[in-house]
């Protein structure tokens, strides 16, 4: 494993995989917006993470955070290695398409969306234990449903890619192929839709992370859509390896409203109640 050493901090060149760790040495990873410091002292592991934003960047990994804010994990035995592995988000994503487009009736189109991954930090070996799972980006919450019922999801404003050929992958994102099928009699305006990534499987192919294919069939504005996580990677990717099971198994195909969030024009009851 190639690594860079800057003063006291070791910075592994990869973000995913197993890493040998020694006592009293601090390790640093930057995964998306998430900056992670880790150190081991005998059978204690200390981890601290910090999210950068435009106002608050970590430019110098050597500036190790203060003792406050370290999460302390007492593990069984002394673990010589730590593993950082990717996982899909723990909730569905509402994708807000930056450039909406129409899908006429009868048309089927596959699009590709980058989904930020979660980082799962575990010990390796006989006493394997998951220590913590943190997102690589802090995604904001959104509500998908009516004021009376629905589900809380993550909000992601995203470009939509239509072709796979010129796709450049980002190591801390999984590419999610979504096949949209308009089986109604009306035009479908694709500007916002929900994808149940918690039911998705994660694969690796040529060092690129892919989720399984998600199929969404649109039946019309007054009807529910049909959403299915296929469970397998695209057929083009021969030899892809499954690296993460879905968080929640999809037992049967879901019928949900995926293209709007039930939010009708009079969602806000104005005049207002103080």
């Amino acid at each position: 494993m190639e690594k860079i050493t800057k003063n006291n901090v070791i910075i592994p060149s990869n973000i995913w995989g197993s890493f040998d760790i020694v006592d009293n040495q601090i390790y640093f990873w930057r995964v998306g917006n998430c900056n992670i410091w880790l150190k081991r002292e005998e059978d204690n592991i200390y981890i601290k993470w910090f999210y950068s934003n435009s106002n608050n960047k970590i430019d110098n990994e050597n500036i190790v955070p203060d003792d406050e804010g370290w999460s302390h994990y007492v593990i069984k035995g002394k673990s010589e290695s730590i593993e950082l592995s990717p996982a899909m988000p723990d909730r569905s994503l509402v994708i807000k398409v930056k450039r909406p487009f129409y899908l006429p009736p009868g048309i089927k189109k596959r699009i590709y969306i980058d989904v930020p991954l979660w980082i799962c930090i575990s010990t390796v070996g006989n006493n394997k234990a998951k220590l913590v799972e943190i997102p690589s980006f802090i995604l904001s919450n959104t509500w998908f449903g009516t004021p009376i019922e629905g589900q809380v999801c993550y909000w992601l404003m995203s470009e939509v890619n239509f072709g796979i050929e010129e796709y450049s992958h980002i190591p801390y994102m999984a590419t999610c192929p979504v096949t949209l099928k308009n089986i109604s009699n009306e035009n479908l305006l694709v500007k916002k839709f929900l994808i149940p990534v918690e039911n998705s499987v994660l694969f690796i192919h040529n060092n690129e992370l892919w989720s399984d294919e998600i199929l969404i069939s649109y039946k019309g504005q007054n009807d529910v859509s049909f959403v299915e996580c296929k469970g397998h990677v695209l057929k083009e990717f021969i030899g892809a390896k499954k690296i993460c099971e879905p968080r929640k198994k999809q037992t049967n195909k879901r019928f949900v409203r995926t293209f709007d969030s039930f939010i009708v024009k009079n969602f806000f009851n104005i005049p207002l109640n103080r």
């Binding site: 509402v94 904001s140 959104t142 509500w143 009376i148 809380v152 909000w155 969030s261 806000f268 207002l272």
Partner: protein, 287 residues
């Protein structure tokens, strides 16, 4: 001797029979009550299970009691007659309790709230601890215990704060008349957008409510999960104050402007010093 012996045997036999009825009946009743409660709890709710089990228990005890009394030789018709009279007397005395019990049944049927919901009723707010035959029990946020009769719940307006999964946070803000409303709107929406607890949808909105005596009144409306409501409100108010201070946006105190009759004329003021010498200038006496 034989007669006395036979009589004694009959008495012992009756006594044993009654004892067996009581023991078996009581334990059978407890077992049936327990099974019924578990079954109803699984299928419906804990409070329904409790109510049904109590009905079965009291009914069973009544049947057991009448059986024992019959074995002891009491005539049930006479007893029922006496019970009827007593019942009327108790009925008058227990009107409120009966009303509470009946109100309890209506509450169970309507289901306006459940255990662990936060409700406001008759001016009291708290977490529902239990829903019983005669009353409900609340725990207030400062840890007081409140017992509210069911009748009060039926008669009064009840607000269930946690019935729905999301709630709106309304933050009233007054800004000085000199401020740019569009600029303030952008700042407020930016604060809402950057706060993770604030839901992206339904979208945050800033509404101009009106022109107050001292300020232009705005209202920031954001939505949050019900568990985050209180925390988000605090965070937003602090963040708004901080940003307004940074941007130099004035939140005015309530104030009144006084004119002498013409906006263009200065208001005449005279400052009188301690030694009562008048200070010159465009001043007059303050009266």
């Amino acid at each position: 001797m034989d007669i006395f012996y036979n009589l004694k045997m009959v008495q012992i036999y009756s006594f044993l029979k009654i004892l067996v009825i009581i023991i078996i009946g009581f334990f059978a009743l407890l077992w049936i009550t327990k099974i019924t409660r578990k079954t109803v709890e699984k299928k419906f709710s804990a409070q329904m299970g409790l109510i049904v089990s109590k009905i079965i228990l009291y009914t069973g005890l009544f049947i057991l009691l009448t059986t024992v009394l019959r074995e002891l030789g009491f005539k049930l018709t006479t007893l029922l007659g006496a019970a009827g009279v007593v019942g009327i007397a108790i009925g008058f005395a227990a009107q409120t309790s009966v009303s509470n019990i009946i109100s309890g049944f209506f509450l169970i049927a309507e289901k306006p709230f459940e255990v662990n919901d936060v409700i406001t009723v008759a001016g009291k707010t708290g977490v529902v601890l239990s829903i019983d035959m005669l009353s409900i029990k609340l725990r207030t946020f400062d840890n007081k215990f409140i017992r509210i009769p069911n009748e009060t719940l039926i008669k009064n307006e009840l607000i269930n704060i946690t019935k729905f999964p999301i709630r709106r946070v309304d933050i009233p803000i007054g800004i000085a008349y000199k401020e740019d409303i569009e600029k303030v709107r952008d700042i407020l929406l930016g604060i809402a957008k950057n706060e993770p607890l604030c839901l992206n949808e339904p979208e945050p909105v800033v509404v101009v409510v009106g022109f107050g005596n001292s300020s232009v009144d705005l209202l920031l409306l954001v939505w949050a999960l019900k568990d985050d409501w209180f925390k988000l409100k605090n965070i937003l108010i602090e963040e708004i104050k901080k940003r307004f201070d940074e941007e130099g946006i004035e939140i005015p105190f309530p104030h009144v402007s006084v004119y002498t009759g013409s906006v263009t004329q200065p208001f005449p003021v005279e400052i009188i010093s301690n030694n009562k010498n008048k200070v010159g200038g465009n001043m007059g006496e303050i009266k």
